[in-house]
């Protein structure tokens, strides 16, 4: 495992450390510089293939991008992906759909909001009425920037009608995606898998770490139940969440690598611990990446970050990719 990056400290830790060591005069200017500088862009595509490992990014990483239909979204995303040296991605539906976040129906607690029924109905109507040409235009915008969309992240759930599920896969296909990634329940798999088969796509459930709800993807057994439903079901294994649920991602990949479409490269501490920069948690990020490299596994490795930071998200993604590069090359 990598040592902790000494620059990744909180202000409080930083102030305490320099006060204790008396290094204030030499270190404080560095902190000041960090507060204002952004990392320089990488060469386009330079991080896309690291020793044979296909790297990418979940657009969710770019937390400063507006959501839900803002015209600035796609140009920002393509620019950011250029800046971090990536040419393939998973794009989240909030960066594509002109619907509200509440309208997806995924968040169970959000269904209690008074405006939920109207927003949910509007989102359903938008999905069903939006033609493939809308998504194809987005695909072309990405393609013109040298970026392809490998997976489309849309969280199908029990509030979806079958017509809506069908259109979720139609949208994914039109975007050029091979995989529909969904943070969904295990019981959703039999409902959505037939549409994956119909459209020749992979339905790829994404795990979190609620190990108390047997319908949530958080354990190896949950994924194994989903794999049994259809050959078109493959995992999007989020190694950070998996580790936070006290699972070992290396063990799971060794056992199920032929049923994994994408790895979300994230790091967290065990026991439902916090999100941390890559290498500082218990997800065994280096071991995972080297397993993919050495096994020549055709699994996408997409960075997905969620820890607190004062730096621009694009800089954090660059740092994450540099960590991956140092692990692989």
């Amino acid at each position: 495992m990598a040592g902790k990056d000494p620059t990744d400290v909180t202000r409080r830790q930083f102030a305490g450390a320099i006060a204790a060591t008396g290094l204030a005069a030499s270190l404080a200017p560095r902190a000041i510089a960090q507060a204002f500088e952004t990392d320089p862009p990488l060469a386009p595509g330079s991080m896309a293939d690291l020793a044979g490992v296909r790297m990418g990014v979940e657009t969710y990483c770019f937390h400063d991008v507006p959501r839900n239909g803002d015209p600035a979204i796609i140009p920002m995303l393509t620019q950011y992906m250029h800046d971090v040296g990536i040419n393939e991605c998973e794009i989240m539906s909030a960066h594509i759909e002109q619907t509200t976040g509440l309208g997806n129906g995924w968040w169970v607690t959000a269904r209690q909001q008074p405006t939920y029924p109207q927003e949910r109905a509007a989102a359903r109507q938008w999905r069903i009425a939006t033609p493939p040409a809308y998504y194809e235009a987005i695909r072309e915008r990405f393609r013109a920037s040298g970026i392809s969309i490998y997976s489309y992240n849309l969280n199908v759930n029990e509030t979806f009608t079958d017509e809506e599920r069908d259109h979720a896969f139609i949208a994914g296909r039109a975007l050029g995606a091979e995989v529909l990634v969904a943070s969904c329940t295990i019981s959703e798999i039999p409902r959505s898998a037939p549409f994956a088969e119909k459209h020749g796509m992979i339905l790829s459930p994404h795990n979190h770490n609620n190990i108390y709800d047997p319908d949530q993807f958080a354990t190896p057994e949950g994924f194994e139940r989903a794999f049994a439903v259809s050959p078109n079901v493959k995992a999007t294994l989020d190694i950070g969440h998996f580790a936070a649920g006290n699972n070992d991602p290396v063990d799971f990949i060794e056992k199920h690598h032929d049923r994994i479409a994408v790895l979300h490269i994230r790091d967290r501490k065990r026991d439902n611990g916090p999100h941390v920069p890559l290498g500082q948690g218990d997800a065994r990020v280096r071991d995972v990446l080297r397993l993919v490299r050495d096994g020549k596994l055709p699994i996408r490795c997409y960075v997905e970050l969620e820890y607190g930071s004062l730096r621009p998200p694009v800089d954090e993604v660059k740092r994450a990719l540099e960590f991956c590069k140092s692990s692989l090359v």
Partner: protein
């Protein structure tokens, strides 16, 4: 002597550079995360708390200003648990334990120091006060229920505003709208009042609890009574605290449901054979110690522990 002066100069310079570094770090908070300008006598703590709130990634689910929680993040601006928090005691219990039973499981932060927690709690309360202030100011004054206003007054106001500090003289000088504004923002204006202004902390706390309807009820009560309540009524109220159901709903309802029958965040307690098997002492120890499965450790009074365990077990004992 010369060496000492040079040493002092170096220390002073180093301190200035540290201060500059910290100041710049605060100012470097991205605009999308800054929210409104922070002000008040505890500005330094608020700034630390705001930055820690971001560095601990609280903003990600609960929103940078609390007003824009998204997805499954709890609405801290209206959370009953936050309303009951004093200096981070309730917030800290949840933050350190996480909520592993929620849909995507809020992470736990067991290493958060008391100082950091206190700063974050100060920021959360400050933003919450702003939310309530805005809601009360922008709402049309609801028609009030004087009896409900009296209950609120007895619970939250009478301890100070009776006897020589009665409000009767002040009330006469205001129309209803102005009176409502004064209830929400007693002079001197909050939250920029000096830290030692009489009642400042209590009024800020009250602002976090108040809803527009509470203000309407208080106005109705104050108009009807001129703010006078009898000493006997105050004594009677103090001798009869809110029933256990109400206290449980405020302190535990966020996760276990207001009726103790469970919610999306936590299991049912009443009627749960696993909980019943613990017995009163076991339940009280569980509340006090918490558990690895996400139950925070709460420091409750023995009176509340007795009342809650009896109510959960439905023994009909102390309520």
């Amino acid at each position: 002597m010369k060496t000492a002066k040079i040493g002092g100069l170096v220390i002073g310079l180093a301190s200035a550079v540290i201060a500059l570094g910290v100041l710049h770090a605060q100012e470097s908070l991205p605009p999308r995360l800054r929210g409104p300008v922070l002000e008040g006598p505890n500005i330094a703590q608020l700034k630390r708390g705001q930055q820690d709130y971001v560095m601990r990634n609280c903003h990600f689910c609960h929103g940078p200003t609390l007003a824009d929680a998204r997805g499954g993040g709890a609405d801290l601006g209206h959370s009953q648990l936050v309303a009951n928090d004093r200096g981070g005691d309730m917030i800290g219990a949840v933050v350190r334990a996480g909520t592993p039973r929620t849909q995507t499981a809020m992470p736990r932060y067991p290493d958060m120091s008391d100082a950091e927690l206190s700063d974050i709690a100060a920021y959360v309360h400050y933003m919450r006060q702003r939310i309530h202030d805005k809601e009360i100011a922008s709402a049309a004054l609801p028609a009030g229920d004087a009896e409900a206003g009296k209950a609120f007054f007895l619970a939250h106001c009478a301890a100070c505003h009776s006897g020589q500090h009665a409000l009767s003289a002040a009330i006469a000088g205001y129309d209803d709208k102005a009176l409502a504004q004064r209830i929400a923002r007693p002079a001197p204006a909050l939250p920029t009042a000096p830290a030692d202004a009489p009642g400042r902390e209590e009024h800020l706390r009250l602002l976090e609890l108040e809803k527009p309807q509470d203000v309407g009820n208080l106005v109705a009560f104050l108009r009807a009574s001129k703010g006078k309540v009898g000493a006997d009524e105050i004594r009677l109220f103090a001798a009869h605290p809110p029933p256990v159901e109400s206290r449980f709903a405020l302190q535990c309802g966020m996760c276990h449901g207001k009726d103790g029958l469970g919610s999306l965040r936590g299991p049912a307690l009443r009627g749960n054979p696993d909980v019943a098997a613990l017995g009163p002492e076991g339940i009280q120890a569980f509340i006090a110690q918490g558990s690895a499965s996400g139950m925070p450790a709460f420091k409750l009074t023995q009176r509340d522990l007795d009342a809650y365990s009896a109510w959960i077990l439905d023994t009909g004992a102390r309520r």
